[in-house]
Symmetry: C2
Subunit: 294 residues, 2 copies
């Protein structure tokens, strides 16, 4: 048996097309153009690349983008003052503070200072609190977990009643995706480095979300035949045949896993393209909320 | 084999004694007396009883208690105005809004209006968000889940690395206790009404937390020999031999479970006495935080 490949590129394009149309419709009907502000502190090259990708995607979809960059030694007050200005700016619907921040800044306080209605990254403590609670819904769902759920939905995977195992418990992926699947009525187990027998859990899972950051650690023999496997990992693996000397692989050993799984995301081309697409969807949603309030 | 009984009455008394001594020490050293304000809306008899029990416990331990009661038709503004006054009142360290509130009130907004430093019930959305996040700690842990953890700790149950199954996913018990056990490095599975095979999960669990609100539904054959079982349920069962015609039983079938489990809480006398004890501990902690800030 060979698994159906969940095509993240294609599904992300579908999300982007929805956003493109939503933005065009808003512009046509109200003259308003949604806007995303990015806030970056310091010169981390990966953060710079991510922010640039987000800004370009905004342009592509017709969303205004406003970039703000602070030097590495920016103070808490400087960053929070900018956030308050952006909170008050009616052209800005979403505020994205690129993480990680330099260690001297209080990340939680900065995220907390973002207007809940502009928290398109979904990391405001109140949004996370709502995500964790029954009967409450966050205004915005964090982008990568949201992307994982959308991949499952678009692939026709039944979440309600499913046994779901999350491998990894990061604030950015593992924990919020666990909460989302639980809210959608899956029976969720969160596994991590202290889990005694990981394979025993994954072998009983209808849905496996791999987000532990360890290269190819989930192998085919650890999966239940027919399981849906979402691989959030992005790791480098030496590969002399590539110009740069490596290729990207996930937390799942794709070759063995695809012989057992029913559906599986590749790396790259699975979860990766979804994150920015969902950020764009959240930004449009923020603009729609702001317009509805006017 | 017969399980060791986890004596909630005795452990709660230990917690209360710690609080009593902490209150006395604070009074002696600073002259300050901790205070708890209770806010109740409407005439629900169970809520009235709970609030009265909390007030009496305050008196017993030397904590000031301030009771506030609104009629059933109180407005959102009236309740929020009182909460702001209590936030500003330096004699009040903890604010307890007794839930459930009447349906016309916005519960989340009221909980959100409580000063985070006075949220001794631990239900402020930001506290719940912190509880859910790695590397962040809530100022206060919700009382019943906190009591469950304390019972495990006092009984010498190893949490780190354990397989823990939570049956039930309420905001008040199931979800926060899952987060706490996860933070303490257990591998946590949250089961609920949509779980396909509950027994398969509970049979693999080193720790079972029963908080589903269904009378005696967890039976001995569903447990792993030697497991630690914490029974949060309080249900009435007909019993002609009792004057009132019923007795209280938990979500666990105690008779069969105690033959398989290693440690087990009885109902009553297990989790029950812990909730108020942990509320008192949180109130003392709130007073200590306030004193440290002065």
């Amino acid at each position: 048996m060979t698994a159906e490949i969940i095509d993240g590129k294609k599904i992300a394009e579908k999300v982007r097309e929805e956003v493109r149309q939503g933005v065009a419709k808003m512009k046509e009907e109200t003259g308003y153009v949604p806007g995303l502000a990015t806030v970056r502190v310091g010169e981390d090259p990966a953060s710079a690349t991510y922010v640039r990708m987000k800004q370009r995607m905004c342009e592509t979809l017709g969303i205004n983008s406003f970039g703000h960059t602070f030097p590495e030694d920016a103070t808490q007050e400087e960053v929070e003052t900018l956030v308050s200005e952006l909170n008050a700016n009616p052209s800005v619907n979403g505020i994205l503070v690129q993480l990680p921040l330099p260690g001297h800044l209080d990340e939680e306080a900065i995220l907390n200072s973002i207007d809940l209605a502009k928290d398109v990254d979904g990391f405001h403590p109140v949004n996370i609190g709502r995500l964790a609670m029954k009967g409450r819904d966050p205004l915005f769902i964090p982008c990568t977990p949201y992307g994982c759920i959308r991949l499952l939905e678009e692939s026709g995977v039944q979440i309600s009643g499913a046994e779901a195992v999350i491998v990894g418990r990061s604030n950015i992926v593992g924990l919020p995706v666990a909460m989302l699947l639980q809210k959608a009525n899956a029976t969720v187990t969160i596994c991590h480095s202290r889990t005694k027998d990981l394979a025993e859990h994954t072998r009983n899972a209808d849905i496996v979300i791999a987000a532990i950051g360890r290269r190819e650690m989930i192998t085919g023999d650890m999966l239940k035949p027919g399981a849906a496997v979402i691989d959030v990992g992005i790791n480098q693996k030496e590969d002399a045949s590539r110009k740069r000397g490596y290729r990207l692989v996930g937390d799942v050993d794709f070759e063995s896993a695809k012989e057992v799984a029913g559906k599986i995301t590749p790396v790259p081309g699975g979860v990766g393209p979804m994150t920015i697409a969902m950020l764009m969807a959240n930004t449009l949603r923020a603009a729609q909320i702001a317009q509805d309030e006017n």
